[in-house]
């Protein structure tokens, strides 16, 4: 992680310096702060990466990883759930402009509850329906937020 941050910071520093670090009067210009902060991030990230490389793995965290939670899910199952939720969220975000915000998120909530969390059909339907109704009333009706309607927008 730290190495990736360092690499991005170096790139950000190079780009930042292109905005000009000092102006003609010797005062700071638009690129000063990006360049300085990027340099700090890069240096500290490299220090951190070095420290991590030489530090031994914490046995407690290994034990924690192997633990089963109260629903009997081990780390492998939880990792799979996380990947599924990430993919489903991305799909829902893409669908926002296609089928509208509320429909896209109704689909997301229902899919996560039923397929990822293995909840029964009735609770899934009730939770999804109630949540979307509350979101509609609060954001669309009360706050008058123009939520994307997608193909239902006419």
């Amino acid at each position: 992680m730290s190495l990736a941050v360092a690499a991005m910071a170096i790139a950000a520093g190079i780009i930042g310096s292109s905005y000009g670090v000092y102006d003609d009067g010797g005062r700071i210009a638009g690129g000063f702060l990006p360049t300085v902060t990027a340099a700090i991030v890069a240096i500290t990230a490299l220090i951190d990466a070095r420290a991590r490389f030489f530090s031994p793995e914490n046995p407690e965290s290994e034990k924690k990883k192997a633990a089963v939670d109260i629903f009997g899910r081990n780390q492998k199952t939880r990792n799979r759930q996380l990947v599924a939720v990430l993919i489903l969220t991305v799909v829902a975000l893409f669908l926002v402009n296609v089928i509208g915000f509320l429909f896209a998120f109704a689909l997301l909530i229902a899919t996560i509850s039923y397929f990822v969390e293995k909840k029964k059909f009735i609770p899934t339907a009730l939770i999804t329906g109630a949540t979307i109704l509350v979101a509609y009333l609060v954001f669309d009706q009360f706050l008058q937020v123009p939520l994307p309607l997608g193909i239902f927008g006419g």
Binding site: I15, Y19, G26, L33, R78, L82, V85, V96, F101, E117
Partner: protein, 494 residues
């Protein structure tokens, strides 16, 4: 001051403000105890809901969420040993042990009583000190402001959890992210890569919602759930002896909390840890700390709440947040068109004093709610997280969208959600990052003004007595912990 207090009560005691204050503390308590949510997330997610309200009402509600979440966070610390909030981490040590010894109710009750006493004392102090402090701060030029911002950042880097280098990395990263877009005083569009959505920068609300709400959701999914301990009504009764043992720790915690809370960037976490450490040394039950001692709950909880109130001194008077949640609140001020800082007390007395008085009212609500209702709130810990997190996903993303009305925001939230998840997974401190993002634009403005005043020479910081003193304090803040660590390691070796 009394005229201002009366003005504050007149503002805070309207039916609308009382109602939103109550809603704020109630939501705050619930938010604080639900896994995956905390005061910073709660305030960030609920900012959009307050857009239809008057600024003072909105801020009263958001502040209610802040200190309500402190109470809620204690419930999870005691019953789950999983603090909802960083300042409650230390409470988990003795609080959870008390719960395992069948004294969960007493732990929750003393946390509520201690927090209430601390909140009331610190409010009195806040009302007494904040206005003269703001008046004094009126003399500050950009040079002093720049020095104070460096000081605030260094405090949060040093005490924000994790190593100094990681804290520095996160703060610098936050500032770096805040430089995206066109800055005031410069003409270049930075890091926009031709995307017009980035011209006005990366809005802090999207960053906060992403890092705190979505990041925590992803982290919780991967971490799994633990079973809570049941708190019953009959266990809530606190004994006379427990109450007697708690009085001095509450007062000590309040003093420590208020003092540390006034430092820009210090926040409640440092206060609660320090209060616990000092209590452990001075209490006669100190050696037994960690086995379920009530002093180990009373002192850090009082410190935590006193610091939360004191955090508003730098936030309101200097416009520099005391911690992560006040940083988000600071951003909320700007959304309502208000600029926190010394002039706020002069230009918006009804808002400032109404907000301060609402803290008092909110804490009364919290005591009434928490003493009898703690076991009821505790039942919410039984809501399966599988039902909860899809709702958090929806609320977070729709909240971000409703501020900008732009689908680009929802992608930003997702990207920062992934980023927040990685930060949590690899144990990077979040507070310096938040402070960096929020302070970034102000920091750059103060820095460019200082550069202009000094004609490119930052040594001007050493020419003025106030900025010189602040820079010396900042240097000590960096050097002293290193020196202490070196001395300790040498004495260990010998």
């Amino acid at each position: 001051m009394f005229d201002n207090l009366i003005l504050g009560f007149q503002t805070a005691l309207t039916v609308e403000n009382l109602l939103w204050c109550f809603i704020g503390v109630l939501l705050g308590t619930i938010i604080g105890l639900l896994p995956g949510l905390g005061s910073t997330t709660g305030v960030a997610i609920l900012i959009p809901l307050t857009l239809a309200l008057e600024p003072v009402t909105a801020l009263i509600m958001l502040a209610g969420i802040y200190y309500g979440a402190q109470y809620g966070g204690t419930i999870t610390s005691v019953l789950l040993s999983t603090p909802g909030e960083a300042p409650s981490v230390i409470t988990a040590i003795d609080g959870y042990q008390m719960a395992q010894n069948g004294r969960a109710g007493a732990a929750l009750a003393i946390a509520a009583i201690g927090s209430f006493i601390a909140a009331i004392i610190s409010l009195g102090l806040l009302m007494a000190f904040a206005p003269p402090f703001a008046k004094w701060a009126l003399n500050f030029s950009p040079v002093e402001n720049f020095a104070i911002m460096i000081f605030g950042l260094v405090i949060v880097i040093t005490f924000g959890g994790g190593s100094f280098s990681r804290g520095l990395m996160m703060a610098a990263l936050g500032v770096l992210i805040s430089t995206v877009g066109v800055s005031v005083g410069f003409i270049d569009a930075r890091y926009t890569f031709g995307n017009v959505n980035l011209l006005s920068g990366i809005p802090f609300v999207e960053v906060m919602i992403g890092v705190f709400a979505l990041g925590e959701v992803f982290h919780q999914i991967r971490s799994g759930a633990v079973a809570p301990i049941r708190a019953r009504f009959k266990d809530l009764m606190i004994t006379g002896n427990e109450l007697k043992r708690s009085i001095l720790p509450i007062l000590r915690g309040t003093g420590i909390g208020f003092t540390l809370g006034t430092l820009p960037g210090a926040g409640s976490t440092l206060a609660s840890f320090m209060a616990y450490g000092i209590e452990r040394k001075v209490s006669k039950n100190g050696p037994k700390f960690g086995t379920g001692q009530i002093e180990g709950v009373a002192s850090p909880e009082s410190a935590n709440n006193a610091a939360a109130n004191a955090n508003f001194i730098p936030t309101l008077a200097l416009g520099i947040p005391g911690g992560a949640t006040t940083a988000v609140l600071l951003g909320a001020f700007t959304i309502y068109g208000l600029q926190p800082g010394p002039l706020l007390f002069e230009n918006q007395p009804a808002l400032v004093w109404g907000l301060l008085v609402s803290f008092f009212i909110g804490n009364v609500f919290l005591l009434i709610l928490n003493l009898p209702m703690a076991p009821v709130f505790a039942q919410m810990l039984r809501v399966p997280y599988g039902y909860l997190y899809p709702l958090i996903l929806l609320t977070s993303i729709i909240g971000a969208y409703s501020i900008s009305n732009n689908t680009f925001s929802i992608w930003l939230v997702f990207v920062f959600g992934l980023f927040g998840y990685l930060l949590k997974e690899y144990d990077f401190p979040l507070a310096p990052f938040v402070l960096g993002v929020v302070l970034g634009p102000l920091f750059e403005k103060a820095m460019s003004q200082t550069s202009a005043i000094g004609q490119g020479n930052f040594m001007i910081l050493f020419d003025r007595p106030i900025s010189f003193t602040i820079i010396v304090m900042t240097a000590l803040m960096i050097v002293v912990p290193f020196a202490v660590r070196m001395i300790r390691s040498r004495s260990k070796k010998s």
